[in-house]
């Protein structure tokens, strides 16, 4: 089981890989769309990579609810 901190670090690496955003900028309060400028296509890529990395399922209706990085960290922590 990964800690919230480990999840954040892992998620930031994925976001950097997919969208080229510095891992330091990927913090819990940031909105994927409004702050990090990530589009819906990249969100799908990030979700698929997060599923593989953390062994979780992120269905589309859940993905739509993950507005901020913190939302994603919490969801993964609960469902891993």
């Amino acid at each position: 089981m990964a800690s919230n901190e480990e999840i954040l670090t892992g998620l930031a690496e994925i976001v950097e890989e997919v969208a080229g955003i510095d891992t330091a900028d990927v913090s819990t309060e940031k909105s994927f769309v409004d702050d990090l400028d990530i589009d819906s296509l990249s969100m799908v890529e990030i979700a698929v990579q997060a599923e593989d990395k953390f062994g979780v399922k992120i269905p589309d209706d859940q993905l739509a609810e993950l507005k901020t990085v913190g939302d994603a960290v919490d969801y993964i922590a609960k469902n891993q």
Binding site: V18, G20, V44, E45, V48, E51
Partner: protein, 409 residues
């Protein structure tokens, strides 16, 4: 008016290096049975040569941007950037009203590398492994659309698809847009990146590719009696075309002029050209008529000449029919290989430079002229010639014929 040129080819990562290599008589053809093209060995393909890019597009496009793009979209963006900067158009929207800016970039097959890779992922990993970017990466309008987004073109974005004539057809459609005064500036040309196992196998099965694996640099030999097929290349060529008044008003440097362009079709055979070159001849005639040129004005034809047995002789018949016996020919595919949908655009750049610089690159590997060819072909070394007008030919599977007439400025 042509105010900007950009290219990435098997001979160089830009226009200057490509042109320099052409005048130096270099070949972009090499063995491709290497790690990057491991499928050559895995499938024991009969063709083990090709003309891959001299400079990988990922060396110039940032990683995150590149991963959203198929290779054909990458090469289009590389060439478009060079052309845009060459034209001195500044920031998007700075000198051209975005609604008066268009893009016409053709391709023969589009993002086939993505199509094959993603199909593999679907087969091996299922739905989840398929990229959400699959469709925008494989669609043949992708190169035009991405260039349009990059430079904010809101006038019109077109992607003519006519096999190996696509790049030249794009220039012809761009000219029409400008003549109709629909826009002031067009980013026009062609892009291709289709050196894959499937395309090489398909072309090989159609018996169109050279099998001269033991001597790659001698494989592409248009007009030579010992030619045995073309060599598949990849690349992109882009021109910035402007209405003359617009170019003059913004004080742009003009490098050449597309004075006319003709598009016709054979309606004859899906791969083979009509043997008498009637459709090709009509395309050349249409181009020079639009340009207001007399056949005697055209001193040079930059030929499509792919090095196939069937194609090269027919083209010279078309040239004779449309223009007479005087034009001096050359065949750039002897050096560049066949860049399919990019060929007509890159070769148009070569044609323009031949007029501007007064020198025609030589056809490489022309040792013994096919006895069916009765025209003067530049061979051995480049020929200095003062040219007032020249035509660039491009023909494609499907019976597509395009000819672009350039004049001196």
């Amino acid at each position: 008016m042509v105010t900007g040129l950009g290219a990435t080819t098997p001979l160089g990562g830009d226009v200057a290096s490509t042109w320099e290599a052409m005048l130096a008589g270099k070949s972009g053809v090499r063995r491709i049975d290497d790690e990057a093209h491991e499928w050559v060995t895995r499938h024991d393909l009969p063709v083990k040569i090709g003309a891959p890019l001299a400079v990988e597009p990922t060396e110039v496009i940032p990683r995150v941007k590149a991963r959203r793009l198929d290779r054909v979209e990458q090469v289009a963006l590389v060439a478009a950037k060079e052309a845009w900067e060459h034209a001195g158009l500044g920031e998007p929207g700075e000198q051209v009203d975005p609604t008066r800016l268009a893009v016409v970039i053709g391709t023969g097959v589009g993002g086939v590398i993505t199509l094959l890779d993603q199909d593999d992922l679907l087969e091996t990993g299922g739905l989840r492994k398929v990229s959400p970017l699959t469709v925008p990466m494989l669609m043949p309008n992708g190169p035009a659309a991405w260039v349009g987004i990059e430079y904010g073109a809101q006038g019109a974005v077109h992607a003519p698809v006519s096999a190996c004539a696509s790049g030249a057809e794009a220039l012809a459609w761009a000219l029409r847009l400008l003549r109709a005064n629909e826009v002031d500036v067009v980013i026009a040309g062609g892009a291709e990146a289709c050196i894959t196992g499937l395309t090489v196998a398909g072309f090989a099965q159609a018996r169109t590719l050279s099998l001269r694996n033991d001597d790659p640099e001698r494989a592409s030999r248009p007009f030579d009696v010992d030619r045995d097929g073309f060599v598949l290349g990849e690349g992109s060529g882009i021109m910035i075309l402007e209405r003359a008044e617009f170019a003059a008003a913004r004080g742009a440097t003009v490098h050449g002029r597309i004075a006319g362009a003709g598009i016709t079709a054979d309606a004859y055979h899906i791969t083979g050209p009509e043997p008498e070159g009637r459709g090709q001849s009509r395309a050349i005639t249409a181009a020079i008529r639009m340009a207001g040129l007399d056949p005697s004005d055209v001193g040079h034809v930059n030929c499509h000449a792919t090095s196939t047995v069937a194609g090269d002789v027919g083209e010279t018949k078309a040239v004779r029919k449309a223009l007479g016996d005087h034009p001096v020919l050359t065949a750039p595919k002897s050096q560049l290989g066949h860049m399919v949908g990019a060929a007509g655009a890159v070769e148009s750049i070569i044609t323009l430079l031949s007029i501007k610089e007064g020198i025609i690159p030589a056809t490489l590997n022309l040792v013994k002229l096919d006895p069916g060819i009765e025209l003067d072909v530049v061979a051995g070394e480049p020929r200095k010639m003062d040219l007032q007008a020249a035509v660039c030919d491009s023909f494609g599977f499907g019976g597509h014929n395009a000819a672009v007439a350039f004049t001196k400025v």
